[in-house]
Symmetry: C2
Subunit: 273 residues, 2 copies
């Protein structure tokens, strides 16, 4: 389970949404504006009170480690679990996390301060065995792994069995690109190309586009333009300015450019299937 950004009160929201704290092992912080990290110190602290033992990894711009460390020092305590900071400062996209199933890359964004989005790429899944066909083909169990990896194999009778004959295509890997906060920034398009889901901030509507330049935020239409150019499947909008009442206009505006738009809201769950 990955947590992306951590505003004030995140621990309360995690509880409200019944997320088990111990499952949160990796936290990704996009940038050091308060609405994206003021809840982190409280979460780190609460994990200690709950006698957590599991490692916690924090991926964040350089500077956050100093903030957390200073506050720990002043409280005269430290976590009783390993707290590991991965400080980010590169202006180019980089691989910052990898396990058996997923890779995470930074997506350098264009905001008032150093900011990264994050791209979560599922690795290629293995091909699926059609177990009846595999057995009929008289293939030794030892070769199943090779079959899943896409190889043709020799059966017990010495006959070469074509992989396509006994396996099915793997489930296509999914990907999630989180892009907040950012001005309209076409440079991200190749990085997030054909993502399954793109979350892109849309602070403003087009009628207030002039506010984008000083604040380095995007309109709903700009977010949709990025989604279209990147040929993603689904666009999630969020990070709406409080100046607007209701958010349906964000969807309407985005859909003039890109059809498959959904609106983020507190506590909403998105299923990628």
């Amino acid at each position: 389970m990955f947590l992306i950004d951590c505003g004030e009160g995140t621990q309360v929201e995690l509880r409200r949404n019944k997320v088990k704290f111990s499952r949160v092992k990796h936290i990704f912080i996009s940038h050091l504006h308060g609405d994206h990290y003021f809840g982190l110190i409280g979460l780190v602290n609460t994990f200690s009170l709950l006698n957590r033992e599991t490692e916690l990894h924090i991926y964040a711009p350089k500077g956050l480690k100093e903030v957390i460390t200073l506050q720990m020092k002043l409280s005269g305590s430290w976590t009783n679990y390993p707290l590991i900071f991965h400080e980010l400062s590169s202006k180019a996209s980089e691989l910052i996390y990898e396990d058996d199933k997923v890779e995470v890359y930074t997506i350098p964004l264009k905001h008032r301060i150093y900011t990264n989005g994050f791209l979560f790429n599922e690795k290629e899944n293995e091909r699926k065995l059609d177990i009846n066909l595999v057995r009929e083909a008289n293939i030794d169990v030892a070769y199943y792994r090779k079959l899943k990896q896409g190889f043709d194999v020799v059966n017990e009778d010495g006959v070469l069995i074509s992989n396509a004959k006994v396996t099915k295509d793997a489930v296509p890997p999914k990907s999630y690109a989180y892009c907040s906060d950012t001005a309209y920034h076409e440079a991200i398009v190749p990085l997030i190309k054909k993502s399954t889901v793109l979350y892109h901030e849309s602070t403003f509507l087009e009628k207030n586009e002039k506010l984008c330049l000083p604040t380095r935020h995007s309109t709903a239409k700009q977010a949709a333009t990025i989604a279209k150019k990147a040929e993603v499947e689904t666009l999630i909008l969020g990070h709406y300015s409080t100046r607007y009442n209701g958010y349906e206009d964000f969807k309407t505006e985005a859909q003039t450019v890109f059809e498959n738009v959904v609106l983020a809201k507190d506590g909403k769950v998105f299923n990628f299937d």
Copy 2:
């Protein structure tokens, strides 16, 4: 309006309780454990977003200024209103705030790190004029102020009028002593003597008294003992450990020592009259 301590989510609670943000001008932080100050940076930040112009004064242990300043620096911004830190490090009680009506003193407490309680003392109120008697006595308006201050004055006929004859006693000044977090610490008794209201932490019940020493917290009975020795009028208990279900036992235990006990709870309002 004074805000004492500021845990995570305080800004949400202030809104929920309809406290006007602009009225908060002085914030007192007892010590640098997270549950007493993690909400401060968010509040300071939100004040900026609301275009506050009024000064904000923060009275807190040395170190907090560095935490807030560091976070501001990393966010590439500063408040658009004057933010004034009063860093505390004295181990003796000191006067840290004064205006026409109130004085605020620190109450050095005994906790795991440097901690102060705060004593809010109303100044002596002025005597009340009995306006009918004053007029009958033929006293010039120019002398009303002297009368309120308790002086005898000469009337327009040159006769000395006794103050007691034309004024009533002032409303007795009230005082509030906030003592959290602290172990049982008799040294505070003379400082908070005869306070109108004492808030004293009671983290534990007597049956868990052995936990007080390592954590430097108090039991309900210890809080009540302080209240009794200090001869306060009312004791408010709070800061209960989450190990207990329900808090009535705290009241029962405290009342074995001191009768006038009330239990603090989220959002509760206490009227000092």
